[in-house]
Symmetry: C2
Subunit: 386 residues, 2 copies
C-alpha cells in the first residue's frame, strides 16, 4: 500500500448554526483545508464525504456530487459514505484507500451534518435510524436509552459511578475552553452534571453530546504529493474498521464494543504500536459512558477499570493518556458526519504542535469514531514520521 | 494498482417483492454470490454496499453494519456508499479500490433497495432527493419531468423522435424475455409505448423504468485470490467516476451528460481501449432518452445521432453494439442501489458465456451507472484477460 499523509485541515465552528445550510458548511471546511494545505482547489482529484442522513435531516441525498458541484470542482469523482456517527471516520478511510491504491494523489475527505433544520424530536428519531429499526427503534428505543443500558450494566458489574462518568464531561468541557471551534466553551462541574435533567437513567443531559451543525475537511496526499506541497505532513500510520451487531440484545457483552476492540487490533497491528505508544486520543464520547468503554476497549486500561482510571486523572491533558483534548463530542459538538474528520483534525493539530492551550507532547495520536451503539468502529493512528 | 477480478455473482429477482425486506434481499444476493464464487462466507474480509435512501425508504440508515450483521459476518468492515441511482456502481468501485490498495483480498460489493414499502408518490419524492432540493425538487420537479426536458431539447436540436425512444423500451423488454431475474418479462410494442399514459411530455409510462425491490452482489478478488478460487474470473479493466452539477439549469448542454463523457474517458484510458473495442454495454436507461444520450456520450455514435442509431438496429442483440442485453433498467427493473451491481453481473454473464438466450460474443463489456440526471456517472470495463 502507498503511504498517505494529511497535509491540510479545515473546519467550521460547531454549534446551532441556524443561518447556515449543509452545503455552505461543507464548502467552507473544504476551502479552509485546501488553503491550509497550500493546494489550489483545482488540483484536488477526488472527494469523499461522510454524512449520516441527508435524506431525513435536509431532504437531500446524492451529497457527494452536490459537494463537488458547489465546491466548483465539477466533474471530479465525489463519493458519499455513511455509517451513522462513524460516517466521517469512514470517509477518511475511503480517501486513504483511494490514494493507497494509486488511483489519485490529492483527495479531500470531509464530513458534514446539518441537524438543526428539523426539531429535536425529529432529530432524535433520525438518529435512531442508526439503531436497528426492527428490534430497537420500533420499540421506542433511542440512543440515550440504549447507552443508559450499557451504563447500568457497567455500573452493576464494575462499580462504575455516575460521578466517574460526570468527570468525563467536566474534563471535555475544560479542554474545549481552548478550542475556538467548540460548540460549548464554558466550564461545567461534577455537581452540575449530577443535577442536570435525567434523560434515561443513569444518563443525564450533561452526559450527552449535543445536536450540532458543522463540517470538517482534510486534504490527503500521496507520498510524492505530500513532499511537493507540505512542510509538516501528518502520516496515516493505520486505518482499522470493524462492525458488530446493530442491536445490543445480540451481543455477548454490551459493556464491550467488540467493533472498537477489533478495529483497534487492526490499527495497532498495522502501525506496529501498542496502547502505551499512543500519546493522545480522540474517542467517540457520544455519551460519557461511551468514553469510559472506549478507553477500556482501546487498551488504555483493563475492562471495568475505566471509571477509576478517569477518576485518577489519567485522561486529563497532563495525564497518562490525554483523552479528547479537542473537547470531544460532548463539548466540541457532534454534527454526526463531521465528527470523525474533526477528530483527525485534532490529531493533526497535536502532531503539528499547533494545539494551542491544549498541546500534548505527541509522537502518535489516535482517533476512534463509532456508529450507533458500536455496530461500526473506525480507528486511525497518525504519526509525524512516514 | 493491484489487479482485481469478479469471481462470484448473485442477485434476487427484481420486482414488487412485497413479502421481502431490505436485509433479506441483500443477504440472499450476497449468499448466492459467495456460493457462485465457491468461497465460504467466512473468508470474506470486507463489504461495500450501495443503497440510495435507507432513511426515507425503510427508516434505516447504518446499512453497512446491518448487512455484515445479518450476513453472519460480524466484525468485518462494511461500508455503505451512496450516489443516488449510481450507488451500486460506486460500491463496486470502492470494493475495487480496496483490493487494488492491498488492504484486502476478498471483498463483497453489493447493492440493494426496497422501494415498495412506501407509496408511489412517496417513492417519487424520495427519488427527487437525488436532484437539487434547492433548485429542482422544491419547485415540484421530479425525475420524469427533468428527463422530459432533456428529451424535448434532444428532439428539437437533433430531430430525435418519440418512436426512436420507444424502440429502446421495446428492445429492452425483448432482451428481458431471456433474463429470469427481470421484473417485466413480456414483449411490448412501439404502438403500446406510444399509447401509454403521458407522464411528463414526451416521456410516457413505458419510457420509464419501474419502482422495484431487489438486491445484487458480486465477490471481488485480488489476483492471488482469483487464481486460488476461480476458474473463470472476470477482470475489472477500468473504473471511471465523474460528477456534474446536481441541477440541469447549471449545465452548458443538458443533452450531454458530461459526467458520463468524463467517466468514459477515464475508463477507456485506463483500459487502453476505444468504443469500437466494446462488445456489449449495460447503460443507465432510467428513461428511454437516457439510453439514447448514453450511447452518444459513451462514444458509440456521434452526439445527436443516437435516435437514428437505435432505429437502424445497432443496439439490438445482433447489432453493432448490443445495449442492455439484460433488459436494462426498463425491463429488468431498477431497485436503485442494486442496479449498478446488476449491470456488472450481466457483464460477467456475457464474459463467462453464460448469458443464455441473450449471449453476445464478448471480449470486453462495459457498464454505465448514473445518479440523478447525471450528476454522478460510473463507468466500468470488464474483460476475460488480466
Amino acid at each position: 500500500m502507498r503511504k498517505v499523509a494529511i497535509i491540510g485541515i479545515g473546519m467550521t465552528k460547531f454549534g446551532n448554526l441556524w443561518e447556515r445550510d449543509l452545503v455552505s458548511l461543507a464548502v467552507e471546511a473544504g476551502a479552509k483545508a485546501c488553503k491550509d494545505a497550500g493546494v489550489d482547489k483545482d488540483k484536488i482529484q477526488a472527494i469523499y464525504g461522510g454524512t449520516m442522513s441527508g435524506g431525513l435531516f435536509v431532504s437531500q441525498e446524492h451529497i457527494g456530487a452536490l459537494l463537488a458541484d458547489y465546491s466548483g470542482l465539477k466533474n471530479i469523482p465525489s463519493t458519499r459514505v455513511e455509517a451513522a456517527c462513524a460516517s466521517g471516520g469512514l470517509a477518511l478511510r475511503q480517501a486513504y484507500l483511494d490514494i493507497a491504491s494509486g488511483m489519485h494523489d490529492l483527495v479531500v475527505a470531509g464530513g458534514v451534518e446539518k441537524m438543526t433544520d428539523i426539531g429535536g424530536g425529529a432529530a432524535t428519531n433520525t438518529l435512531a435510524t442508526a439503531a436497528s429499526q426492527e428490534w430497537e427503534a420500533v420499540q421506542g428505543a433511542t440512543f440515550p436509552g440504549l447507552y443508559a443500558m450499557i451504563a447500568k450494566l457497567h455500573m452493576k458489574r464494575y462499580g462504575t459511578t455516575e460521578r466517574q462518568m460526570a468527570l468525563c464531561a467536566v474534563k471535555n468541557h475544560k479542554n474545549a475552553l481552548n478550542n475556538p471551534n467548540a460548540q460549548f466553551r464554558r466550564q461545567i462541574t461534577v455537581e452540575g452534571v449530577m443535577k442536570s435533567t435525567r434523560i434515561a437513567d443513569p444518563v443525564k443531559l450533561f452526559d450527552c453530546s449535543p445536536i450540532s451543525d458543522g463540517a470538517a475537511s482534510v486534504v490527503l496526499a500521496s507520498e510524492k504529493a505530500a513532499e511537493k506541497f507540505s512542510k509538516n505532513p501528518v502520516w496515516i500510520k493505520a486505518s482499522g474498521h470493524a462492525t458488530d451487531t446493530l442491536s445490543l440484545h445480540d451481543r455477548e457483552d454490551i459493556t464491550t464494543l467488540k467493533a472498537t476492540v477489533e478495529a483497534a487490533k487492526q490499527a495497532y497491528s498495522q502501525a506496529n504500536l501498542k496502547p502505551a505508544d499512543i500519546d493522545c486520543v480522540e474517542v467517540h464520547d457520544c455519551f460519557t459512558i461511551a468514553e469510559i468503554c472506549a478507553i477500556e476497549d482501546l487498551g488504555f486500561c483493563k475492562k471495568g477499570e475505566g471509571g477509576k482510571f478517569v477518576e485518577k486523572g489519567n485522561t486529563k491533558i497532563n495525564g497518562k493518556i490525554p483523552v479528547n483534548t479537542s473537547g470531544g463530542l460532548k463539548a466540541k459538538g457532534h454534527p454526526i458526519g463531521a465528527s470523525g474528520i474533526a477528530q483527525a483534525i485534532e490529531a493533526v493539530l497535536q502532531l503539528r504542535r499547533h494545539a494551542k492551550g491544549r498541546q500534548v507532547d505527541t509522537e502518535y495520536a489516535m482517533t476512534h469514531n463509532v456508529g450507533g451503539t458500536g455496530a461500526t468502529a473506525v480507528v486511525h493512528i497518525f504519526g509525524r514520521e512516514k
